[in-house]
């Protein structure tokens, strides 16, 4: 690390120090990573290769590249470089996850409750993750709107939102929605019971919501047509924040990410989508996806699943670790997700399991945590692989990231370092000192009466 990289380090310290510093306006200088094993994901493995990160992009990939003036040069001999990991199913950074009061809460937006200071951002950077899809929870049939975020810890939220990512919405099917477990308790506490209590009801909720959305769209279309014809003094229809995003789904402008486990409920949703003329972008979890892999493939739908969760609840009894491999062999764009602040830090290991269970190639395994996620979120032109012109979201690993012995050492987003293992050590000492000083000052103060 040369001095040049220090401003970024300071920004990082300040951020963990609790201050949301205004975004560093200083441009990040170029970085040349020398002599690494580069796992491009889309174009195979490149040995002894240099990577030039400049102006936030991957500027050059090749051998014996020369460093431009002012570049930071990192010797990565013996190390691996891979694209930043994309987690297609996260609840990190969210100050609220479920608006579970109603069956349809499409009006709520994860964007409204994101916490750019969440420590999980930093922890996931340390696991090589650079982009996450923050989803509403699975409490109700139609949940809220998602947010796709680059983990630029220490920056303002606006700078973290992934520019150009296709907006999405969370749907949920199955047990979490019927919530047999909690309905009785809710009733005992005098809280209102919420429809639906069965999978039949979920289908009805979906059909009802999209029927209302279709009518709402017709009302607006009619109004717009009359305005276009020159009619005066028209009062426009009301805006309905619940139906606006569903109209976007019908128009193909918003992706549906649907929490689902069982084959029957997934087929139900695919049929509803067909009926209303939209495509489900991803089935989230989809543990029984292997049973209907060809149907999922034909629907043009993706699958985002767990590496090896089995039987932790009734609807997960038929889960198998071969789910990913089978779906991929049927042409389904498949990813492995975390759904967990903790597992998100080691998605590389979850990808490696896909080689063990189903015999995926190294590239295919890596795709499940990089490129395929980018496709599912509509950002594959920018991230997901190491190609010239793409965003400089790359991670230097101590060894092959598909090995349990490897750790992420440096994580870049848009060419800027957001995690570095050496700086992390230095920062721990600083924070310990700060805590000691604060506690000393605090001890002189009165306690709560």
């Amino acid at each position: 690390m040369t001095l040049r990289a220090f401003p970024a380090a300071l920004a990082l310290v300040a951020a963990t120090a609790g201050a949301q510093q205004p975004a560093a306006t200083a441009k990040v200088g170029p970085t040349l990573i020398k002599n690494a094993t580069v796992l491009t994901v889309t174009k195979g493995r490149l040995e002894n290769t240099d990577l030039l990160l400049q102006n936030g992009k991957i500027a050059q990939i090749g051998k014996n590249l020369s460093a431009p003036a002012g570049a930071t040069v990192i010797d990565a001999t013996g190390k691996y470089v891979m694209p930043g990991i994309i987690d297609p199913h996260s609840h990190s950074m969210a100050d609220a996850i479920n608006e579970g009061s109603l069956s349809v809460t499409s009006m709520v937006r994860i964007r409204d409750v994101l916490n750019p200071t969440d420590i999980n951002i930093y922890r996931q950077l340390a696991g090589g993750v650079t982009t996450i899809n923050v989803l509403h929870g699975s409490a109700n049939t139609i949940g809220g709107q998602n947010a796709v975020v680059k983990l630029k810890y220490g920056k303002d939220l606006d700078e973290m939102l992934f520019p150009g990512a296709t907006p999405g919405i969370k749907f949920a099917l199955g047990e979490n929605v019927t919530r047999k477990n909690s309905q009785q308790a809710a009733q005992a506490q005098g809280q209102p019971l919420r429809y639906p209590a069965t999978r039949m009801g979920q289908e009805e909720v979906l059909r009802d919501a999209f029927t209302r959305a279709r009518d709402y769209k017709a009302t607006w279309d009619d109004y717009n047509a009359r305005v276009a014809k020159g009619e005066k003094n028209l009062v426009p229809p009301e805006h309905d924040l619940e139906l606006d995003p569903l109209v976007e789904v019908l128009e193909g402008k918003r992706f549906v990410h649907a929490h689902s486990y069982r084959a029957d409920e997934m087929l139900m949703l695919l049929n509803i989508a067909k009926e209303f003329g939209f495509t489900v972008r991803t089935l989230q979890h989809g543990l029984e996806g292997y049973k209907i892999a060809s149907e999922i493939s034909q629907a043009g739908t993706g699958l985002s699943t767990f590496a090896d969760e089995w039987s932790y609840k009734i609807e997960a009894y038929d889960a198998i670790p071969y789910n990913t491999a089978i779906a991929m062999r049927h042409g389904v764009v498949t990813t492995v997700n975390s759904d967990s602040d903790e597992r998100a830090r080691r998605l590389n290991i979850d990808a490696a399991k896909m080689m063990r269970y189903g015999g995926l190639s190294e590239d295919s395994a890596l795709k499940t945590i990089t490129y395929n996620g980018a496709v599912q979120l509509g950002i594959e032109k920018k991230v997901g692989s190491i190609e010239t012109g793409k965003d400089a979201d790359v991670v230097i690993w101590s060894g092959n990231p598909l090995s349990v012995y490897s750790i992420a050492e440096t994580t870049f987003i848009d060419g800027e370092i957001f995690f570095d293992i050496k700086r992390d050590q230095a920062k721990r000492e600083e924070m310990a000192k700060e805590r000691a000083a604060l506690e000393a000052a605090d001890r002189r103060r009165p306690v709560v009466p």
Partner: protein
Amino acid sequence: MNTRRFPTTIFAMTALGLAPPVAAQIGVQRSRNVPAVYAITNARIVPVSGPVIDKGTIVVRDGLIAAVGANTQAPSDARIVDGTGLTVYPGIIDGNSTFGYPSGGASQAADAGRGGRGGRGGAPAQQGGPAGAPNSLHPVGLQPELAAADLVRPEEDLFTGPQSAGITAALTAPPSGIFRGLSAVIQLGGSSAQAMIVKTPVAEHIAFTPLRNGGFPNSLLGVFAALRQELLDAQHYALEQAAYAKNPRGMRKPETDPSLEALQPVLARTLPVVMQASTAREIERALDLAKEFNLRVILAGGEEADEVAARLKAENVPVLLSLNFQRRPTASADADPEPLRMLRARVDAPKLAGKLAQAGVKFAFADGGLSTWSDYLGNASRTAENGLSADQAVRALTLTPAEILGVSDRLGTIEVGKIANLTVTRGDLLAGHVAHLFIDGSLVEVRAQTTAAASAITGAWTLTVTTDEGDRQVTATLQQVGDQLRGTIQGAMGSSPINNGSIAADGSVKFSATVTMAGGTEEATFTGTIAANVMRGTMAVVGHPQSPFIGSRPEAAGGGRRGRPPQ
């Protein structure tokens, strides 16, 4: 003013053989006992609007400041208050409070409205409990037409605490809900609720607190959607009403909606909104929403306002800054150490005002829901030792709140013709020794405050949660701010900030936090009650059975963390 006219009215009525109305009788008694003219002599006077008068006299007549100066003579009809050794300041104005509501009113209002349906035009939800606004079409908590002026009570007991801190007037807003309603500037005392009111409405108040009854919105996510939908509906309402007013024939009469009606001046920027926000991200979210609808914002709380000072300055947003600095929580020896961020916020709280002053952000002090009234001037004084000048601190207690709240033409300084609200102290104001007050021209003796009630919930709780995966120990470090709860949970289910937290007067609490269960990250909603030092309730996680929890916090006496090294 009206009260002083009562005597003649009453005499006239008595002469005619009419029984005076009950309220008027109370007025008579008060008026007879209270002389209308005072002169505070030989006092040091800090007018705030001008230079300090080292020794002078203030004449108060009929509720107003009649004269002030070094050479002013006490008139012959005045009751003399010897000000030797005393300093007179403009009456302190609490920039944002919930004064004047009998206890229980707040939480009941919040808890009413069970079954409030979300989305658009939910059914009125008024089963049991004092309902919100009459005939509202919106659930309790989303009724912007609710007016403090209709709710405040002139009961003396409601004001003795703040009076002991030298507070003579305050902005007061309905104390619960999301759209909380319209605030008023009141004086802390008067013969009737109407006599207390200085100005109404002052602002619409918004807090980002989910409803507690399970109806929409029950999360922060829904709070934003509900606010946005109601503001959009108000915009549409204006269009419909205008169209109907212009040509009612042939148009079905649009439904009258007092809630949407109340939002019209807000959308027109003639009425500001006071938004309650503490952390930097809460402040940013509030400002974003205000920007979306072009609202005129005043920020209340602002515990991390220094981190967004540049934006506050650029967008010309004043801050009603909380003086409710958090005290050190008591924690048991086996509790997890407090997160660095909370520790830092608590220790650095007195530096905040100075940083805002330096950044050019306009701010006034407010109580922020504190319960130990000696903290009010005590903490203002600490800001003056941590970057703020003493003059700036006095200003932020007096003139600046009057300016921000639009009453500086009648309150906030010692000038002839202004309302005679005065805070009289032994020594400097910031030393905190309040001798007495003048409120609306009447002398008020300050009663020593009884020891503050211990906060029902602030502290570090050690909880055991019995989940379907076994018992889990967690430490919940909680802070109460008004009806809101903040803090963190740490321990066997991961660490997370507390979100969406609130507490009602009956000790029922609700908050959510992110927990790790079955290897997955889940949002857990804790609902419980506190009795004595025990909190019990259930934790709800989507996809899991309800998990009971129970726990306690160490008694406050002899508190402090024992025997655990810093980590």
